[in-house]
Each structure stands twice: as C-alpha cells, then as structure tokens.
C-alpha cells in the first residue's frame, strides 16, 4: 500500500462516518426461504435456520406468498415470520388447497359439497446451538407447528380423528464450504413427530394409525454462487387413513436470492398419491420478502 493510499485510509477511519445498516447482518441466503408451513427452510422441509437475516443483536421478519400447482390440486400459502436475535422464530401460515378434481369424488362418494380445504399453522422454532456457517457441528434447532383446520367436514368424512394437531421437530443444518467443485454445500436433516395427514390438510390421525410417528426429512443444496442455490428435498410421511394411501414428498428446487430483501424459489414437486388421486406432480413458486 502506498503512503498516499494509507493516508486516505487513516483519514477515513478518523472520520468514522455512520452508514446505513442493512436489514440484518447474517450472510446472504442463510435465512433459508419460507416453507409451505411457514417455518424457515426449503419448500417442503423446515431447516435449522431461522428466517430473515437477524443476527444476535437484531430483529427481522419475513413475508411470503407460495403456490404449488400439481395435476389435480392447487395449494396457496401466505406466511409471515419474526426472528428475535437469531434465537427464536415465530411464524404463521394460512394454507388453501383447491380440490379441483377431488370435488367430484367428494360429491359422489361422500355427498360433500366442498371445493377447498383451509388450514392455519402457528410455528415456533428455537435455535439450540451452533451456527450453520461457523460451527464445525452445524446449527441445531427445535420447533413446533400447531395446525388447525378451518373446516373439518371433509377430513372427518374420510376418517381423520382430529381437526388440529401439533408437529414437533428437531433440525440440523450445516454449510460445508468449498465442498463440491469448490462450491458451498448446505445439508439439512429434520426429524418430525407428527400425526398429520397430508401435512394436516386432511386432518390428524386416522383409522390406520392415531398416534405421533417419527418421520425423517432431508435436503441438500449447492450454492452456485451466493445468489443461486440448487438442490433437492425429501419428506417422509405417515399413512394414517385407510381410504387412500399417502406417499412421501420430494422436490427439486432452485432458489435465487439477489439480496437480503428478496428470495424467489421455484421447484418441481412430487407429492405422490394424494387422497386417491395418483402421482401428483407439478410446479412450485414462492416469493419471500425480508425486512
């Protein structure tokens, strides 16, 4: 460094100006995106990351709109979250499932006139230990999702036992720097105790099983650079209802995080058989704003 440049730097430090702070201090994309259940994670699976960019002395929040269109259903989700000190995440989400072709099954088979199912999900997640970037053993969090159906008629008719239920999960996330082709690899593993049918949209518990079961969920994502993340998710599911089998879910996703304020996620989702309608595949799109 030349003496002239050094002097300029020293003068800059003497002046010590105030500058505008960004909306949170965590590194780009480390808030994940908003899942269909409102918790921070990928699309289908909650991660140990807490939403927004709040670090240990900050507050942050997120708002998200998501839509999945598979062969015979459309799911729309509106979600919001708050993060206190990167320690506690509180979320709410409202899901609306348009039944599209299932309307006829319900009418002919059960005599029900209903074209959508609605559910509210209230979530809390606490970061127990670690940091996804800096801790050798990664970041570990525990969370709950209290789910409440807004109309129980359909779920009740197909054999669900309750119109509300609580999922409890433990999640670990770790970023491996320069792991694959010098790119950073994000790995998440979640264990969830649940008795929800199709995430709760078809109620809780059933004739085949009525107790909480442990389900494993995982995802991997590769950061092509700090704005683009591509990856896959898998979510194991219970199968509580006799009237139709329930399959595991998976997706392949691309997330674009141009800056801390915006995240756009697109995915190919496969929900398997859902309420007698087979092999439900389609597209998922989610927009998330952070503040």
């Amino acid at each position: 460094m030349t003496a002239r440049r050094l002097m300029a730097l020293i003068l800059a430090f003497l002046a010590a100006p105030t500058a505008t702070a960004d909306i949170g201090s965590r590194i780009w994309a480390t808030g994940g995106v908003t899942t269909i259940e409102g918790s921070a994670g990928g699309g289908l699976v909650p991660w140990a990351l807490l939403g927004s960019y709040a670090s240990d002395e900050e507050w942050g929040g997120t708002l998200a709109l998501s839509r999945a269109e598979v062969d015979d259903y459309t799911l729309a989700v509106t979600g919001a979250g708050l993060n206190w000190n990167n320690r506690l995440e509180l979320t709410v989400a409202r899901q609306t499932l348009d039944l599209d072709s299932l309307v006829f099954t319900l009418k002919d088979g059960f005599g029900l006139e209903q074209d959508e199912l609605n559910q509210d999900i209230f979530g809390a997640k606490i970061r127990l230990v670690g940091d996804v970037l800096y801790s050798p053993s990664g970041q570990w969090s525990a969370g709950v999702q209290y789910k409440r159906q807004r109309d129980f008629t359909v779920s009740s008719a197909i054999g669900a036992r309750d119109d509300s239920g609580t999922d409890v999960y433990v999640s670990g996330s770790k970023l491996f720097f320069a792991a694959v082709m010098e790119r950073n690899l994000l790995v998440n593993l979640t264990a969830r105790a649940t008795r929800a049918n199709q995430g709760g949209l078809l109620g809780f518990g059933g004739d085949q099983n009525n107790s909480h079961e442990l389900m494993m969920e995982g995802s991997v994502g590769l950061f092509l650079n700090r704005q683009w993340l591509v990856g896959a998710e898998y979510r194991q599911k219970p199968d509580n209802l006799g009237f139709a089998t329930e399959d595991d879910w998976w997706d392949l996703f691309v997330a674009w995080v141009p800056d801390r304020r915006l995240a756009v996620t697109g995915a190919l989702v496969n929900l398997g058989d859902v309420a007698t309608l087979e092999d439900q595949q389609g597209l998922y799109l989610s927009l998330q704003g952070s503040f």
């Binding site: 430090f13 002046a15 105030t18 670090s55 002395e57 010098e182 194991q236 998976w250």
Partner: protein, 149 residues
C-alpha cells in the same frame, strides 16, 4: 412407518454422500499454492485487505471496534495472515487471535458484518467464487478465537 425406510430413499443417499464429501474435504484441507495464486498473490491480497478496510470504516456495526487502531500495521498483519492461510510465502507475525480479541466482546452480528465485508472486498477484486469459498474455509477455525468462545 419405520425409520429404516429412510435408508432406501434417494435423499438419504444424497445426504450420506454430501456428509462424506464434507468429511473428505475436511481431511484434505491443507491450502495449496493455487489458492494463493487465485487471490492474486501478495499484491491481490493487499488490494482485498485495503478494500476491506474501506468497507469496515463505512460499516457502523463494526467501525467503532476498529477506531484508534494502527491502520498500516493492521493492513500488514491481515495481509500476512491471509497470504499464509492461502498457502503463500508469508508468516503472520501479529498477536495470537484469541488474545487479540479477548477484550472486544465481538458479537455474532459483528462477526457476520466482517465476513460480509470480506466477501464484498473479494468480489470487488474479481476473486472467483471457488477461491472465496476456499479462503473462508481456511478462516473458519478462527471463529471461536475471535468470538472468544
């Protein structure tokens, strides 16, 4: 549904693979000369550190922590340190990191701010993404020392 089902899923395989890759990588974490070269050797690192200092001074989350420091000495020490960590022919001669930061009460917010500024400084100097990731990987072991954990 039994837990053993998980072992059959493609994602479980992917995750195992990812963990293995991560594991292998950490066994093989010795920096080599090519990282030093990708950073532009000593001159390139000097430029990154200089841009980092300009970003720090503008950043109200951390600039107070640096007020009153010897700028020339800091520039030299950090350049030496990054040069050494990236496999270059330098030796860091400054104080031990834990001792240096022991009274500073560095928060995660401040640590993140510094990490962000380092990434931005590397971007300003057109350091390739892979080299950025590899340098940060070399810096990770300093986290507990700097945070005094």
């Amino acid at each position: 549904m039994a837990l053993t089902n998980l072992y059959l899923t493609p994602t479980a395989l992917l995750i195992s693979l990812a963990l293995m890759l991560g594991g292998c990588q950490s066994l093989n974490s010795q920096p080599d000369r090519s990282l030093y070269q990708q950073l532009g050797e000593r001159e390139g690192i000097e430029n990154v550190v200089e841009d980092l200092l300009y970003l720090i001074v503008e950043d109200e989350r951390i600039n107070q922590q640096f007020k009153g420091m010897d700028v020339a000495r800091f520039h030299q020490n950090l350049t030496d340190q990054l040069c050494e960590l990236s496999g270059g022919p330098c030796s860091y001669t400054g104080r031990e990191m834990r001792e240096l930061h022991s009274d500073m009460d560095i928060t995660d917010t401040q640590f993140n701010a510094l990490a962000e500024n380092l990434i931005l400084a590397m971007e300003q100097n057109d350091i390739p993404t892979g080299a950025q990731n590899r340098l940060i990987k070399q810096l990770l072991p300093l986290y507990p020392d700097i945070r005094n954990l």
